[in-house]
């Protein structure tokens, strides 16, 4: 990996526990993410990885623990706070707005940057117009970056899976996030599409300096892209460190081979 100045912590979670009724999904998880790095979270299915992202986002509220983002510590995140402070994400089972076009979906990602009130919007004059055009430019730059010009006006519900994932990435990028959470961005893709997606992720990280937290199952991708890796299994934290360290860790190997541990 190239040299990065990765000392500054942008997000830290401390002792997070999350349960749904009697089902314990996360058990005392603590880790941090440094600004500018690519952090992977891996683990077998059902390990609690998506739930961890949901906690960071504010969609789930942990029963225990705290989240420190950009220096501010909270017992739980609220979705609006997470979004307005610079966290964006993609979802495991694509959460695009199926009734809208690609361009519109990406424009919704700009919603926090747009402010003009209802009346000006109704009249579509002055600040409302300028704002719409400015943000359209930003959206188009993202469309260029992701090479999806051809499907710009197509309703996303009709797009193939791989393209939908790209549009969803576009929507997340549109928010110009400081921390980007990607939940299995390469699921269901062939190797060509995975290479494209990997390239996008690296470009976003190097060109815009965006910190990335990534859930992924493809080990080669994880090893290639990540600066550091966190391993979860059954809600427990198994390992946390550099990719090659984690790969050699016996607990991690056991978990993936299905050997039960206490």
């Amino acid at each position: 990996m190239n040299d990065k100045n990765i000392d500054d912590v942008i997000l830290a979670v401390d002792n997070i526990s999350l349960s749904f009724g009697v089902m314990k999904v996360l058990d005392s998880i603590s880790f941090d993410i440094k600004r500018g790095e690519i952090r992977s979270i891996i683990g077998p299915n059902g390990a609690g990885k998506s739930s961890m992202l949901n906690v960071i986002n504010g969609f789930y509220h942990p029963q225990q623990g705290s989240i420190t983002f950009k220096g501010e510590t909270r017992q739980q995140m609220a979705p609006y706070v997470a979004a307005s402070h610079g966290i964006a994400r993609t979802f495991q089972n694509i959460a695009l707005f199926k009734g809208m076009s690609t361009l519109d979906n990406i424009m919704t990602g700009r919603n926090l940057k747009m402010k003009t009130n209802l009346f000006l919007q109704a009249l579509h004059i002055g600040p409302a117009r300028t704002e719409e055009l400015e943000n359209r430019e930003v959206a188009e730059r993202i469309i260029d970056f992701l090479d999806i010009q051809a499907i710009r006006k197509k309703p996303v519900g009709k797009l193939p899976y791989g393209l939908q994932k790209r549009v969803e990435l576009g929507r997340a990028l549109a928010a110009e996030p400081e921390l980007l959470l990607l939940d299995e961005p390469m699921a269901g893709m062939n190797s060509e599409e995975k290479e494209d997606m990997s390239r996008f992720i690296i470009d976003v990280n190097t060109e815009f300096g965006t910190t990335i937290a990534l859930i992924e199952h493809d080990m080669s991708v994880v090893m290639d892209l990540s600066d550091r890796v966190l391993v979860l299994d059954y809600g427990l934290q198994l390992a946390d460190g550099l990719p090659h360290e984690v790969r050699a860790n016996q607990d991690v190997i056991d978990a993936y081979l299905g050997i039960p541990h206490e």
Binding site: F20, S50, N54, F59, F91, Q92, N93, A95
Partner: protein, 298 residues
């Protein structure tokens, strides 16, 4: 004190009547995921057909009832053929709006076939006040309403057993969850739907008989469908016992409010009280008394 008990009892009985209609809703929702707005009109249509058979064709009661059941089954088959099978896997709101359309079609058809004047329905259910209750407790109770309550209880038991224990019941629950998944394990959606809507039609007939015996067969019967909504909210859309309990709560609530609060605000509170009650309920418990709490996943 006896007056209060009478009001409550009267409310309970009214509630049972609501529950009968709500039962039909629950059936269809449980088994096909559709909220059948036309349930009230189906009750009206069934009652109209029954009366029509008895009066226009001079059939004896038992034959007329059998005939009406046949009509409701045929209707279920038609609904499946012409409407449901073309709407497989559509969003719930589209299905709901289709049932509104269905309600209008049935209403118009009922009017054209049997005429829109009010009809008397008398199939021999005991009418009038229960002398026994009057003598023993000095409380006024309608025999008809007791009859309805007992019928409802029998229906509930029957339906509960049907859903839980039989193979068809299981298939119905599968269909309610996911049309395509049910198809993929070989459940014939079409047969299931015809069965469900037939049973709902028969339940509608029972409701229609009870309501019709009580206040005559007329258009306002179909408005009961709207009243059933608060019942379902309280009781949950998928719970058979919930429909009964929800109905009784609404029935009692309405009657008590009308009698005790009504005079202060000019009366006719019954028009909206049930909905406000349901609304208040929803704010605290969005899934109703018996509904299942849905955990959203992203």
């Amino acid at each position: 004190m006896t007056f209060f008990i009478e009001v409550v009892l009267s409310g309970l009985m009214a509630g049972v009547m609501y529950s009968l209609v709500a039962l039909g809703f629950v059936l269809i929702f449980k088994a096909s995921g559709i909220f059948n707005f036309a349930q009230g009109v189906m009750a009206l249509f069934a009652a109209l057909t029954l009366v029509g058979f008895m009066e226009k064709f001079g059939m004896p009661v038992w034959l007329a009832i059998a005939g009406t059941i046949g009509v409701m089954i045929a209707l279920a088959w038609l609904i499946e053929r012409l409407m449901l099978r073309h709407l497989v896997n559509q969003e719930p709101i589209i299905l709901f709006m289709a049932t509104i359309g269905l309600a209008y079609v049935l209403e118009g058809a009922g009017d054209i076939l049997w005429g829109s004047d009010v009809k008397l329905l008398d199939i021999g259910i005991p009418q009038g006040a229960s002398d026994w209750m009057l003598d023993t407790f000095d409380i006024y109770v309608e025999k008809l309403e007791v009859f309805a309550a007992v019928t409802a209880a029998i229906l509930v038991v029957f339906l509960a057993v049907f859903f839980q224990k039989t193979r068809i019941g299981r298939a119905l629950r599968a269909v309610a969850d996911d049309h395509q998944a049910a198809l993929s394990v070989g459940i014939s959606l079409h047969t299931i739907w015809v069965i469900v809507w037939s049973v709902a039609g028969i339940v509608a007939l029972v409701a229609g008989i009870m309501w019709g015996s009580k206040s005559g067969v007329q258009f306002s019967l179909s408005l009961i469908a709207l009243k059933a909504l608060p019942v379902l909210i309280l009781g949950g859309f998928t719970s058979v016992p919930g429909a009964i309990i929800g109905g009784m709560i609404i029935g009692v609530g309405e009657k008590v409010a009308e009698v005790y609060l009504g005079p202060f605000v000019g009366g006719a509170i019954e028009n909206w009280f049930a909905y406000m009650l349901a609304l208040a309920f929803l704010l605290f418990r969005p899934q109703g008394l018996f509904g299942e709490r849905i955990i959203e996943r992203v």
